[in-house]
Symmetry: C2
Subunit: 569 residues, 2 copies
Amino acid sequence: MAEKVVVIGGVALGPKAACRCMRLAPDTELTLVDENKLISYGGCGIPYFVSGEVQTVDALRSTPYQVLRDENFFRDLKNFTVRTQTRAVSIDRKAKTVRVRDCITGQEDTLPYDKLVIATGASPRVPPVPGHDLKNVLTLTRLEAADSIRKACEAGKVSEAVIVGGGFIGLEAAVALADMWGVKVSVVEMAGQVLPGVLSNTLGIMAGADLIQHGVNVYPAEKVLKLEGKDGAVFRVVTEKRTISAQLVIFAAGFIPNGQLAKDAGLDVTPFGAIMVDEHMRTSDPNIYSGGDCCSIRNILTGKPGYMPLGSMANRQGRVIGTNLAGGDATFPGYVGTWAVKLFEKSFAGAGLTVEGARKAGFDALSVVNEQVDRAHFYPEHGMMGLELVIEKGTKRVLGIQGVSANGDALKARVDAVATVLQFAKPTVQDIANLEVSYAPPFAAAMDIVNAVANVADNVLEGRMRAINGDEFIKLWQEREKNGIFFIDARPAKAGLAMQEKNPDWHAIPLEEFARRINEVPRDRPVALVCNTGLRAYDCLLVLKRNGYDDVVNAMGGMQAIKMMGLEP
Amino acid sequence: MAEKVVVIGGVALGPKAACRCMRLAPDTELTLVDENKLISYGGCGIPYFVSGEVQTVDALRSTPYQVLRDENFFRDLKNFTVRTQTRAVSIDRKAKTVRVRDCITGQEDTLPYDKLVIATGASPRVPPVPGHDLKNVLTLTRLEAADSIRKACEAGKVSEAVIVGGGFIGLEAAVALADMWGVKVSVVEMAGQVLPGVLSNTLGIMAGADLIQHGVNVYPAEKVLKLEGKDGAVFRVVTEKRTISAQLVIFAAGFIPNGQLAKDAGLDVTPFGAIMVDEHMRTSDPNIYSGGDCCSIRNILTGKPGYMPLGSMANRQGRVIGTNLAGGDATFPGYVGTWAVKLFEKSFAGAGLTVEGARKAGFDALSVVNEQVDRAHFYPEHGMMGLELVIEKGTKRVLGIQGVSANGDALKARVDAVATVLQFAKPTVQDIANLEVSYAPPFAAAMDIVNAVANVADNVLEGRMRAINGDEFIKLWQEREKNGIFFIDARPAKAGLAMQEKNPDWHAIPLEEFARRINEVPRDRPVALVCNTGLRAYDCLLVLKRNGYDDVVNAMGGMQAIKMMGLEP
């Protein structure tokens, strides 16, 4: 007899699992239910629909070959039944049935299953501040909300907006509104930086600077206290520190996994409410699978249950579930946390743990930052790229990588090269130094930046170089009266001299002249070196060391990193 | 007492090893000798100097921070001695000395060493055809030759050129001459395709098509018989099949490792003349290291000694040697063969084995080709990318990946993600299907193309889809009278109908209409499906299967791949 499969949830994982199952076991009687009207859309594309880069809602609902993924598509081409506006209200695991309710008529009926898939996703976290239910206070996870924001922008009704939350969706929305519609956007983020958790504080400052340089207000370490309305619609946002006018407020403050249905059915969920699954994406009931944003999966680096609500994870997991529904034996290994986001001029990406995250997870971690050209420096079309490598001190194990570049594809190449190794091995600094990435001058330097950042890490770990971040360098410079540090700018003479003219405490000694001018460096003061990227300064540091100067620090990433953080000496 | 180190060879590996050694052990007495005048240049940049994209020779000789790497640079900043135009003529391993000869005066002297590095590189292979020693017959590995080619182009003296060899350097030179100087270039390649060994025949045809579409003549499977001269300079090239006028001939027919010095000293070399080293880059004499283009290193995939003369390999190996010279314990794991090359509109990259290479190495291998958009299809700036995954049949082990895209950085991201896994694990098709690469709509599809090609491979391996390459599809089409195949174009109606009008044997049945028009497909004939990329056709194939049609093939990569091969039905 044909097996009966019910899938609860019609975005990303649900349809993927269903299609895969039907391909492998065409006789399956499969029904997919979703409480909404529109299903199977590219939710990650919503910010690009808001901006207008994606022109229609239907573009997000279509296959790459431009067929609309509606109920008919799944019936005619995938051979299964889709019931939209149908809510799963309870699961009877003993009877193996799902109770569903028609959202329009309220009528209920019961779907029997042999195998069940829970793909209920996650709900945006809306802090219960006064006014959160005013008109024009929205979240950005459903097409309907996106449509109304876009229409309001098109009608010129939004001149100021507040985004609550500086994560991926919040920042993508900020860029969409500011860049394409000229809206004055303010991002309010509780944490001390934007993209908290996925970027170190150093790179987080750079992400914030990219927003600020393009006219977005960034208010980190700040809480929204209340929203105030006029005629029922929001008109301003009150935080701990200020009041901001806004005709639109978007909450993008994270997600809460929709695990209640599973919990009510007695399935195991984590303390934060996500459904627990094994490597086969099976819940604690072997007949019930789950995946995507409602699930917790294993963090490969920490070994602990984690949470990574991304469309790409859901799609890959959906295929695994589909295979297993059809009697196959597919597994999903967990995640290391690989991501990317495009802001204005800069893109950011990362994999694994940040230095702060690694410490929180119990690792004795440090990180190094390297700024370097992203391909052969003699190749005309090169750009700068910054990479931060996170390392466990004793073992030299690499725990993560994050980076920034104007060329997102080139950045992705470096991050993904490390990300995939993190999934299969416990690479050391030496492994990344030897990482065999593709090379030709139009694509990479002979010593690629991903190798180079590992080499820098090795030098720091071996005590060959004391490295500080750009913001630390600026702090030392500002406190120079107190700390008595001797500051050296190793850039070509012109750049350094311009600074020296403004302030004689800034000593321009270019690398080219360093060996013969070494006596200008006092022997009884600590030395701080800076250059454009850190490379020249490192060569100077070696000359100083050979000459017996030991108390020397080098500003990693040099003036490039300092400028990218929006700072200056 | 300070250790004495001698380094033979001043390009890439030699200087890198020397600098690293001096950083770690500043007291070392290090001497580097090189028989040429110019050292430490970016040899891989030579084609870009020929084209004019790199403006001066000095740009290739400078650090990323624009300091010229001449003898003074190494003396003043790196603290070691460089003797240019000094040839190492023999090694006395017992006495631990190197005999060197001044190339100008002929005077010889002896350098004692505690540790020796042989970094003699490789020489371009020049087939001993008559006329190979004529004027304007050159190789492209030294700055001097590059300079004379560039000057001849600038003076308008070259209107036709022949490149012998369709490998990386040959094709980069072809692009440089044709694109930037308008030279009529012909590439003559002995093998049946360009980029033999690193691209499959299928992708090789695409590389050839990119050249042909930009006015370069490509003559694969053809041997040069002789060069003919006029007044001592070459004026035409005679092959097995034609005579080609040329004022310039460049031999780019591979490399011969310069292992003779090592062999004469009794060190182990491979049958093809490359120096053998262990994981520490040590030769059979523990006091002598070697690396770079003169060396054989282990191919991680085959486990056998291989050869991978790339500047990036040399740089990474140089650092390992430098560490070990200074008493450290660094290792180099071998190589999987990762590379990239930019042609005209298209870039190509790869890692690991090609399908033909895998079979030659004894694997029961197949490959699948997938053409797909390289990021979310709804994101406006997407492009096409083609990936070929090479798999061992029984184990489903992934042995290699190659690809093509107009966006080289995006292609590099996919290739490097697999390349680095190949270095640390023996990934299966499922591993690549689950590969956690970074995702956001501006950078990737939710199911990234690198995951998708593994999914296609899985379907082919499991017998769910019989896949053929674009050129095989065209061959079936051309032989349709004989094979009686029923051809179906599943693209949107317009595209398919245009073809059908030209030839009624071409049946336009778009995916959208497929289910209800299935009876138009005869049950007693084999079926061949094609669409734009292979995706629509796969959905049609599933519908056919559900309806009992079993003898169905799908053209992988669809019309995209066919067009990229320069073919048409």
